[in-house]
């Protein structure tokens, strides 16, 4: 088996884990002491990217062109002057504040045929696009100007402002893409971002006056099956949903009895669209491992049934929560990191888990290179 590499964004820096066949080792650390909120390696170029929250000094973007050996800070894009964030549910009077880049939530390299394309999903809801490998970024105006935003249907979920956490590119057609926004919902573009439409039919938002609203939903993470891109999955604030028609409609596949419901991440098998994994949490009020025991749930039939995968995971006194970017899949290998600094890995689709790091900082992102 070829060696695999995983980039881990954590509260105290960027860690790199490499290995395979049961032998995994931490091989590198960078940005020590700084919260790395997201890190990814661009499969087209090998360039590594890290979004770092320097707290006092603000959000920064770093890039490494030598496999993580050395890093350079890249100027973050700014919202155009005069752009506003609409504060939630401000009825009657327009409550706004100036749009400033608060946080880079996801960094998504473009498709193979889009050399130099990089997407940044940010709070307060701007999608920034680079076509020159990150030298410059531009705000995607059509999404930012979507009327639902000014109508107050984009608002903060977990953070004070709406944020883009998922950028999903159709492997058949790079001008076809989806974004996931908390809170606003899933939006689709079929013309390389020139126009966008909401794709939230079938989702419920019990926190809205109209739960079946077109926008205002809270997808926590959105992913598609690369071999069958008409199938998308989302772990939503409300539950787990599948779409088999390119996000035109969604069906909830949470469990009525069983842990599958609340959670943040979802991973989809690269070839089998009906196979997906989630890591459930107790509820949005508590956000803990269900019953103090950690489990990953897998479905192989599109969510009709779920298997609880617990072998190798702590089954008592566990408080691990897994954030939306902290579960990833490569072939049959899955890895996830938790808020309590544990990194778990399975090389057999989740049947058996091994803790490959138990005293790590809180983990924000886990991404196979």
């Amino acid at each position: 088996m070829a060696a695999k590499k995983i980039l881990i964004g954590s509260r105290k820096g960027l860690l790199t884990l490499e290995g395979g066949d049961g032998d995994w080792r931490f091989t590198r650390s960078a940005h020590l002491g700084n919260p790395v909120e997201y890190a990814v390696e661009d499969p087209r170029t090998g360039t590594q990217w890290a979004a770092i929250d320097h707290g006092h000094w603000g959000e920064k973007l770093h890039r490494s062109k030598d496999g993580g050996e050395s890093w350079e800070e890249i100027a973050l894009p700014k919202f155009p002057e005069g752009e506003k964030v609409f504060l939630a549910f401000a009825q009657g009077e327009e409550k706004t504040k100036a749009a400033t880049l608060e946080n880079v939530w996801v960094i998504e390299p473009g498709a193979a045929d889009q050399r130099g394309r990089i997407y940044l999903g940010t709070n307060p809801g701007g999608l920034f696009v680079s076509d020159d490998g990150g030298e410059s970024f531009e705000l995607n105006r059509p999404l930012w100007d979507h009327p639902s935003r000014a109508q107050g249907m984009w608002f903060g979920g977990g953070r004070d402002t709406p944020g883009i956490h998922s950028v999903v590119i159709d492997p058949r057609d790079s001008s076809h893409l989806y974004v996931g926004i908390s809170c606003a919902g899933v939006f689709e573009s079929r013309d390389d971002g020139k126009s966008w439409r909401p794709m939230n039919k079938g989702l419920k938002a019990p926190f809205l006056p109209t739960p079946e609203a077109e926008t205002g939903h809270d997808p926590h993470f959105v992913a598609l099956c690369p071999a069958e891109p008409e199938t998308l999955w989302q772990q939503n604030h409300v539950g787990v949903y599948i779409s088999r028609d390119g996000a035109a409609s969604w069906a909830e596949v949470s469990q009525e009895i069983g842990p599958v419901g609340f959670g943040f991440p979802v991973a989809v098998h690269a070839q089998r669209p009906e196979t997906a994994w989630v890591v459930p949490g107790v509820s949005d009020e508590q956000r803990m491992a269900v019953g103090g025991s950690l489990c990953v749930c897998r479905t192989e039939d599109g969510g009709k049934s779920w298997t609880e995968l617990r072998e190798g995971l702590p089954q008592e006194n566990a408080y691990d929560v897994v954030y939306r970017h902290a579960l990833d899949i490569d072939g049959e290998t899955l890895a996830f990191g938790s808020t309590t600094g544990n990194l778990y890995l399975s090389e057999d689709g989740g049947e058996l888990w091994k803790c490959v790091g138990g005293n790590l900082p809180p983990i924000y992102s886990v991404r196979f290179a």
């Binding site: 320097h54 707290g55 006092h56 000094w57 603000g58 800070e73 100027a75 973050l76 700014k78 919202f79 002057e81 100036a98 749009a99 400033t100 880049l101």
Partner: protein, 90 residues
């Protein structure tokens, strides 16, 4: 020339930063002057809209500046300025 001192925390990102003399009549001009000398430094101190970052403090003659939004506080020719992280940021 205003004389500026910094928290050593900023040396992590700008190793050459020491006591700096900057020609400026207002704090906003001072930040821009520092950014010309240390490109990118302003983004560590102010938000995109020019306001002071929430957890950054600027003192002029040991007094916190009043205008965190526009940084319009006046500087005298020999003002002493101190730029630090606020403890509110943890």
């Amino acid at each position: 020339m205003a004389r500026v001192q910094f928290t050593r925390h900023l040396n992590r990102f700008f190793p050459a930063l020491g006591e700096e003399d900057v020609e400026a009549s207002r704090v906003s001009e001072l930040v821009q002057g520092l950014d010309r000398k240390y490109p990118g430094l302003a983004a560590y101190l102010i938000e995109d809209d020019g306001s002071l970052r929430k957890h950054v403090n600027i003192f002029v003659e040991e007094v916190l500046i009043r205008d965190r939004r526009g940084l319009s506080d006046a500087l005298a020719r020999d003002s002493k300025v101190f730029i630090v992280q606020a403890l509110s940021g943890g």
